[in-house]
């Protein structure tokens, strides 16, 4: 077990190094001088010269790269020209809103997805299964930003029930979180359906039936518990997609999180913030994948005790 953890940790560190290197390369490939890019279009010539000096742009590429790595390891990506403070501080200030949004969306997706998947998997190819599978195809095919706008049209513009943008009251999170959760609800439902359908054919379900357990007891006690492992895995693996979805959804609802920050910063060429935000997102994904891997082994006794390997 310790060996597994250490190996995963090593891969995680490697991936972060790779992600940082990629950012470094991208910024050097882009048209224009990196110092100007990092400082933004309004920077004075003196500032650009000072940053060039600090980044060592006059030095060989290898030396520049080492400096970049050293600074990145200390979370130093330079200052944001728009906010006039360290880029990492700007990014961290927006982190909480994104975490709130993605967590709420995850809860919705898991609860609704498990319920739909159970209903569908109970009788594969039954009427409910067809309806649910049609629904999941639809949910995955609809662009979330458009769904968000249509929800605003319905709940804000027409019914006047929910606020369409910004933060403040708990009601503000409803539309963005529901919008973000929809494709993931579909994914969770698909996985749960397959797993429950499989479990329903197992001998222990027959046993449970013959013991006289109700359908609900069988579903929750026997079928559902076994589908938790794949669901946890998929939730962990989809965290990247969820954060990506948040980038778009935050922009629809003017949600002040990392996603809207990334898009604003890209549009305003504030690349210090872009770098910091991208690497923070990468770090979050790496950590979450690690957690999903490990909880996978905690949930499945075969993996936990090593009997399976």
């Amino acid at each position: 077990m310790t060996g597994v953890v250490l190996r995963r940790l090593a891969i995680g560190v490697f991936v972060l190094w790779g992600a940082g290197t990629m950012m470094f390369v991208l910024l050097r490939l882009a048209p224009g001088d990196p110092a100007t890019l990092l400082l933004g279009p309004d920077a004075s010539a003196a500032d650009v010269a000072a940053l060039s000096e600090r980044l060592g742009l006059d030095q060989p590429m290898v030396a520049q790269y080492l400096t970049f790595l050293k600074n990145a390891a200390q979370f130093d990506f330079g200052d944001s020209y728009r906010f006039g403070q360290p880029a990492m501080d700007v990014v961290l200030g927006r982190l909480q809103a994104t975490v709130e949004l993605t967590l709420t969306a995850t809860v919705i997706a898991v609860v609704v997805g498990l319920a739909l998947g159970m209903l569908a998997g109970r009788r594969p190819d039954g009427r409910v299964d067809r309806v649910v599978s049609g629904l999941t195809i639809l949910l995955q095919g609809m662009p979330t930003f458009w769904v968000g706008i249509m929800l605003v049209l319905l709940f804000t513009a027409t019914l006047g029930l929910l606020p369409s943008s910004g933060t403040g009251t708990p009601a503000h999170i409803v539309l963005p979180a529901v919008t973000l959760s929809l494709p993931f609800t579909a994914i969770v439902a698909r996985i749960t359906r397959t797993s429950v359908a499989q479990s329903m054919r197992e001998p222990y379900v027959q046993t449970a039936r013959s013991k006289g357990l109700t359908e609900l007891q069988i579903l929750t006690g026997h079928a559902l518990r076994n589908s938790l492992v794949p669901v946890v895995t998929i939730v962990g693996l989809q965290m990247g997609a969820l954060l990506g979805g948040a980038v778009v959804v935050e922009n629809v609802f003017a949600w002040p999180g990392l996603g809207s920050l990334v898009v604003e910063s890209v549009s305003n060429r504030d690349y210090a913030v872009v770098q910091a935000a991208a690497l923070l997102i990468a770090a979050i994904i790496v950590v979450l994948n690690l957690v999903a891997d490990l909880s996978y082994s905690l949930l499945d006794p075969r993996v936990r005790t090593g009997a399976h390997r």
């Binding site: 490697f14 992600a19 490939l29 882009a30 609809m142 662009p143 109700t214 990506g244 872009v274 994904i285």
Partner: protein, 314 residues
């Protein structure tokens, strides 16, 4: 009563007559996708649209209204008096073009890398899986936003930005298949006969990969179209002179309470395309899976687990 026996009639195959009555439905996805491609090619020749021209007299007309010069605004007009129907038609060309180019590039890179990694060996294989790890540390759309934002706006940049993660599922699948095929008898026979490795790969390995690649390409196409619309919606990537469903939807966002049709129709058209492309991909998938029953083909990844999902989240 909840016994297994009472469940049986539900699970049993449906009577053939009912099955035949609905059999035509399987042609729906391919027809819908075909229609989009047709509109993308021919539509702009039949419908006039100038993305730069503005006519303030015809601004925000509802669907079905008549414009000042007597034309019909079938799906209404936007705040600059531009026809929504025309934007839908021209947007189809943009989406289909970018989708096709991105999928072609992704498939080319993915299949090449996958075959090399699966057939030739360990060093390439290890390098491949580590690079995939690194790329997947970023949500695909974030990477696309950054790349498309760094470089000057153009179709090429958007295609490259989307293909940056798009090749991964192709590489994974091809690698897995190359691994199984390389140990088959005919490959061994060819090797013994002294056939050059490149010829073995092209004549004896690639043909097995092509079917599932087509299936994956269909699935991928839908995700790419969604991602492109997402980028355009955020105002990143394509030059402002091009027409894209994402841009039109973004325009309509500001006019929701007065002109719902601006956002509604392009999104509807986009969703319809993506759903049917997905269904088509599923059909391809089950077809190639069935014909590969002899055990040559490993299961091709289903939609939920193509390792991408990133664009699927848009």
């Amino acid at each position: 009563m909840t016994g297994a026996i009472t469940d049986l009639p539900e699970v049993a195959p449906r009577p053939p007559a009912a099955r035949r009555r609905w059999a035509f439905l399987r042609w729906v996805p391919v027809s819908v996708v075909g229609l989009y491609i047709l509109v993308a090619i021919v539509g702009p020749l039949l419908v006039d649209y100038d993305p730069v021209a503005t006519g303030l007299t015809d601004r925000l007309l509802p669907p079905g209204a008549t414009t000042h010069d007597g034309g019909l605004a079938l799906l209404g007009t936007d705040p600059l008096g531009r026809d929504i129907f025309a934007q839908v038609v021209y947007g189809a060309r943009t989406s289909v073009t970018i989708g096709a180019l991105t999928v072609a590039l992704s498939a080319l890179v993915g299949v090449t890398v996958g075959v090399v990694a699966g057939y030739f060996g360990r060093a390439v294989d290890a390098a491949l899986s580590r690079s995939i790890d690194v790329l997947l540390a970023f949500p695909g759309i974030v990477l696309a936003i950054i790349v498309a934002g760094l470089f000057d706006r153009s179709i090429t940049v958007v295609v490259v930005a989307l293909a940056l993660t798009g090749w991964i599922p192709f590489a994974r699948m091809t690698r897995a298949m190359a691994l199984t095929v390389r140990n088959r008898e005919w490959v061994a026979a060819a090797r013994v006969m002294g056939v050059p490795r490149r010829t073995i790969v092209i004549r004896h390995v690639l043909p097995f990969v092509l079917g599932p690649v087509v299936a994956l390409a269909a699935t991928d196409f839908g995700l790419v179209v969604l991602a492109e619309a997402g980028l355009s919606f955020l105002g990143i990537g394509l030059p402002p002179t091009s027409v894209s469903w994402g841009q039109t939807i973004a325009t309509g966002k500001e006019y929701l309470s007065t002109a719902w049709w601006i956002s509604a129709f392009p999104g509807l058209v986009l969703a319809l395309l993506v759903v049917h492309v997905g269904l088509l991909g599923d059909q391809f998938n089950s077809f190639f899976h069935r014909s590969g029953r002899r055990g040559v083909l490993p299961r091709t990844p289903r939609r939920a687990g193509t390792g991408r999902g990133v664009e699927g989240s848009l």
